[in-house]
Symmetry: C2
Subunit: 420 residues, 2 copies
Amino acid sequence: MADEPTSRRAFLRQTAAAGAGLVATAAALRAEGADPLIAQVQDYASAFGAPVDATPYGLPIRHEAHVVRRNVEWLTESPVSSINFTPIHALEGTITPQGCAFERHHSGAIELNKQDYRLMINGLVDRPLVFTFADLMRFPRRVLTSFCECAANGGMEWNGAQLEGAQFTHGMIHNMEYTGIPLRVLLEEAGVQPAGKWIYVEGHDASSNGRSIPLDKAMDDVLVAFFANGEALRMEHGYPVRLVVPGWEGNMWVKWVRRIGIYANAVESREETSKYTDLMPDGRARKWTWTMDAKSVVTSPSPQAPIQHGPGPMVITGLAWSGNGKIARVDVSTDGGVTWTPARLSGDVKPKALTRFHLDYIWDGSEMLLQARATDETGYVQPTKAALRAIRGVNSVYHNNGIQTWWVKVDGEVENVEIA
Amino acid sequence: MADEPTSRRAFLRQTAAAGAGLVATAAALRAEGADPLIAQVQDYASAFGAPVDATPYGLPIRHEAHVVRRNVEWLTESPVSSINFTPIHALEGTITPQGCAFERHHSGAIELNKQDYRLMINGLVDRPLVFTFADLMRFPRRVLTSFCECAANGGMEWNGAQLEGAQFTHGMIHNMEYTGIPLRVLLEEAGVQPAGKWIYVEGHDASSNGRSIPLDKAMDDVLVAFFANGEALRMEHGYPVRLVVPGWEGNMWVKWVRRIGIYANAVESREETSKYTDLMPDGRARKWTWTMDAKSVVTSPSPQAPIQHGPGPMVITGLAWSGNGKIARVDVSTDGGVTWTPARLSGDVKPKALTRFHLDYIWDGSEMLLQARATDETGYVQPTKAALRAIRGVNSVYHNNGIQTWWVKVDGEVENVEIA
């Protein structure tokens, strides 16, 4: 599980054997002359490129125009109460740039400004408070990285393989480095009264998207955040202030946060009763299913990222995460879960944050049923979809963390499939 | 040095005493009626906001239009062989978004595409090789976060305080999470011959910007990188492939990398003789000064981020980094280096990466001579500018890691100053 490419020697041996086109022998080159390789490489640029005042704030190069968030029109009735998906099939590492990080709005992304922004804390407190943005900037800050996953990520897949691509099956997730104020600090400033056991958080948007959070969680690792990946939150991510609720479902990460009320009981709002509860086979619903359990997905190869070369060395990569702590290991299967090989966890492994895994693999060119399976530091192992359905049925759209299967065909194309 | 706001209780006490406007007493509220705070907060939005198909790739909100990289026209003769600066005074956390990360080009930022891209490895190797981009994607990858600092960062300040703002005095730096191939893997693929002791790396741009790197470093932690902060490198950061040379001066992080040659000796190119060497008082020059020594700067308050409130609680924050490993501690002085207070290191502390520090401070409203001083895990302590000049004089524009002083005035305005 170390960070070094442990299979490198095997990789090199296999490359020499199978990686046609990768290796030109020194002997062949000597036969051709002094430096025949030069002919294979473009000349140096013959003109100046763009000056340093060309793009005060840059965007991706036009060749990467396909790496964008996408929505699925038929999925919801209106694009102002809808979702789009992070292009995880085309990303690497762990950070999600704000520009392509998925959005979920209940009444559209609203534009606020810092001057008029106010955050109210009221209810069962000693000192009801209203903070300006400038007030907030005077409180102690903390930096943490956390994934934000919509509870409905993978929701369409409860009923079988439906969406073609990791972007659509698993892309309701992003992972950013946040800077903000521990909510505990603001709650202590207001003075939570002994009867206060829950907070209720509302956004400035028309839906308000109110959610109840137990006081214990609010006092633990929740942030009132204003920076993501080093810069101000983008408008669509809650500018100027959003809640960060590490490890818990994205719907609770209230954007454009307007008010935090402290109450003796949960409010039982629409967003935690008719929505964001998990309908079971017997018609009853699980509620307070806040934590996002351990999950993983192979991002490449995947339907939008097919194998575009023949047999030989390749990189299998993906993401794993757990709302209960750190990822302890990720195993990869190429035979639909019959046998498993541990993947490398690459870079830092942080609690409640996306973890990148890699498996350096020699593909023999035959079909694969490709799967990843995450295990977190609590010992929890990501279940199969069959195991999930045996307990929870197929009525819910939330909390599907079942193992995903990609059918890799001999031509390298990849399809989203279910296996019995 | 823990990550928790250790001075929080003191902060809260002082807030109650000094933070006028922050606190409304419950008694006053009860006198006014049921929920008078509501009147202080904007209504919920009365209309839908932007739909999820509005911005497939988003940009910062227009209110943050000042948070951009900026160049200084008089600094160089031409904007195609020039520099711009990261707006570090307005950023938080540790990640630098690609869109506002500083650029340094020697002949402008060139546009390549993946289809035509080639990387050549030749010289003292058993198997000269040319890789396509698709070839590279088949090799084992690693993820690491590293700062990239121009050797000339702070160079204008050798002769005294000259540039008004942390963006301009210290903004030739960025910090990203990279994914790429350990260069060691590619060099072993080519088979470095025993006589090979140096690599020489060239870019595809017209300047080629060739730099020599000792083989030991090349085999250690150098990456051939294609992703930064999760997505493809931007054009101006070397799309599709750049070198990442953790802890070493930015000029060696060759962009649009075209060729890596292996040689017995350093090439002694323009970029490592007449440039990127450090002219000493006696007219001779230090060379091979690759490592960026430990350094820090207060990013807020700073000339572009003045204090905009009266006395009372405030956050002093900044960045620290070392090319020799992790930051061990950062101390902050408000009296020009007479007395020092340890700051909190916030978030993860990674080797050869930017580290964020915070000091929760109660400002009494008087003038401050604000400084930060970094100590790295080797025990190296960031020197004063006077100590640096005593040895190196003022002829060089490179490797100025002296302690920066901001004069904070009673009105909150901040000026770049030198102290005797």
